[in-house]
């Protein structure tokens, strides 16, 4: 961990390349086929996965594989000012990019004529909601037993106060110069989410991008730990009888 140099400190005391505290939980919802919950700093996201299941309306079904549907939605009480519950254009766009970040990891062709539905509800938003959502969605997909090539880990980097930083929180995102969310399939080094808004030179982009990748890899380790915690107990069932 790189300790801050001289007088620059982040408002929450973190180092330039330090992640906010992250907590993850798997399999916490009863009715969903798979579920996960994440607290990334003060951002809280709950994800449920239903599927593979029948597709309605029927004409959406594909003989080639499961269709992946994703709904990213923010609860009205998740933001400082109450947010209108109707899906905003931002939520529609994020639903699309989150789906596209997860699709490369799923073996969709294993389940033709079905749908896999992912519901991500942001319960509290404090920056990095799409990254936290992707991270939790990936755990929920694994928890649902959807065959996956890899988990998808997501993290953002950015520029604030002239410095390239890892994992901007809401304050840093609002007042900063650039935000760069990234998602990665670490086993295959594949970038499945990449967005940036702000102003960066090519060199700054390189630096921020590489920092975000490092963040993703750390998030990946935390995902695996969360799965271990939930599933290590379940292993002896199969050990005895098979």
């Amino acid at each position: 961990m790189v300790r801050t140099v001289k007088e620059f400190t982040r408002h929450d005391g973190r180092a330039l390349d330090e992640l906010r505290p992250i907590k993850m939980q798997v399999g916490l919802l009863d009715k969903a086929d798979g579920s996960a919950y994440i607290e990334h700093g003060r951002t809280k996201v709950l994800v449920a996965v239903y599927g593979p299941r029948d597709v309605h309306p029927r004409h959406l079904a594909s003989p080639e594989g499961a269709i992946l549907r994703c709904r990213y939605h923010m609860a009205p009480f998740s933001t400082e000012e109450r947010k209108n519950p109707a899906p905003s254009r931002r939520e529609i766009e994020l639903s699309k990019v989150i789906r596209e970040a997860l699709a490369p990891a799923a073996f969709l062709d294993s389940f033709p004529r079905t749908a896999i539905d992912i519901f991500a509800e942001v319960l509290q938003a404090d920056g990095g909601t799409r990254c936290a959502s992707i991270t939790a969605c990936s755990l929920a997909l694994a928890d649902a037993g959807i065959p996956l090539r890899d988990l998808v880990a997501s993290c953002a980097a950015g520029k604030y106060g002239g410095r390239i930083l890892l994992d901007l929180d809401n304050v840093e995102d609002q007042e900063g110069e650039a935000d760069l969310p990234v998602a990665l399939l670490p086993a295959f080094d594949e970038v499945s989410l990449l967005q940036m808004n702000g102003l960066l030179t090519e060199e700054e982009f390189n630096e921020a991008f590489n920092l975000a990748l490092k963040g993703c890899k750390r998030v990946y380790e935390l995902q695996r730990e969360a799965l271990k915690e939930h599933y290590v107990a379940a292993t002896s069932v199969v050990e005895e009888e098979t």
Binding site: D33, G34, G51, P52, R53, D54, P63, A105, F107, F111, P112, R113, T114, A142, D143, A144, G145, P147, L148, R149, D150, L151, L185, P186, A187, F188, R224, L227, K228, Y231, V232, A233, A234, T235, S236, V237, V238, E239, E240, E241, T242
Partner: protein
């Protein structure tokens, strides 16, 4: 050729299991000459095959499986049956009547109505159609009494037990008949509702505590004490 796990290691999707000329078993995949885990489960190796015993996963029908199902719709000459998997099962009238279906004389809902439960066998299933079911055969047909419990398909072995020890225990202590479908749906039929409820509680306990060692003894304890009290 190298293997990167100890037998029965808990693995997660994307985890590298082996490199080289291994054959690919269940719940693993090959990419770029390496074998990776595709589902959460225990990695095992047998000869040159690497596979993962999945801890989570939806029931995937196979021809020959005996499953329990619920009739949810009627078609022109077939019933649609929910068997707890992403694909709705189809039971053709001919498979129930044992002959061609005759619209003039046969009314589908006389044989099976929406809401009826059946024990059926998977006749056919592929990527584009099915699964097609049949209720013709020994032990198959409409369920007339009893209750349905559900377990995760991955936990069926625990419910049955080593050499059937767990299921014999349940049958012995309660006097109930148990039919375990490959889809994880279980039919419990006993002399009284209380007996059936006891088995229901036992099954739910097994599903919850499957991972804790000494389960068979605990279940024996549980059944004996409840049996005396409730009757």
């Amino acid at each position: 050729m190298s293997v990167f796990f100890e037998e029965r290691k808990l693995v997660f999707p994307g985890e590298l299991l082996a490199e080289g000329d291994f054959s690919v078993g269940a719940n693993v995949f090959r990419e770029g000459g390496r074998v990776y885990a595709g589902r959460i489960g225990l990695a095992v190796q047998e000869d040159h095959m690497v596979s993962v015993i999945a801890l989570r996963g939806v029931y995937e029908p196979k021809v020959g499986d005996v499953v329990l199902g619920k009739v949810i719709d009627l078609g022109g000459s077939s019933w649609f049956v929910d068997i707890g998997c992403p694909y709705t099962g189809v039971l053709n009238a001919s498979d129930v009547y044992g002959r061609g279906f005759s619209p003039q004389t046969d009314d589908l809902s006389n044989a099976l109505a929406i809401g009826d439960m059946v024990i059926a066998e998977v006749l056919q299933f592929d990527r584009t159609r099915g699964p097609f079911l049949t209720t013709r055969g020994p032990g198959l047909g409409k369920i007339t009494r009893g209750r349905i419990e559900k377990v995760t398909p991955a936990k069926i072995p625990r419910l049955i037990g080593k050499k059937g020890s767990m299921i014999s225990l349940l049958r012995g202590e309660t006097g109930c008949d148990l039919t375990v479908g490959k889809n994880g749906w279980v039919l419990v039929a006993g002399k009284s509702a209380e007996d059936e409820e006891l088995v229901g509680m036992a099954i739910r306990k097994i599903e919850r505590e499957a991972h804790v060692p000494g389960l068979t003894d605990r279940m024996a304890e549980f059944l004996k004490s409840r049996g005396k009290r409730g009757g």
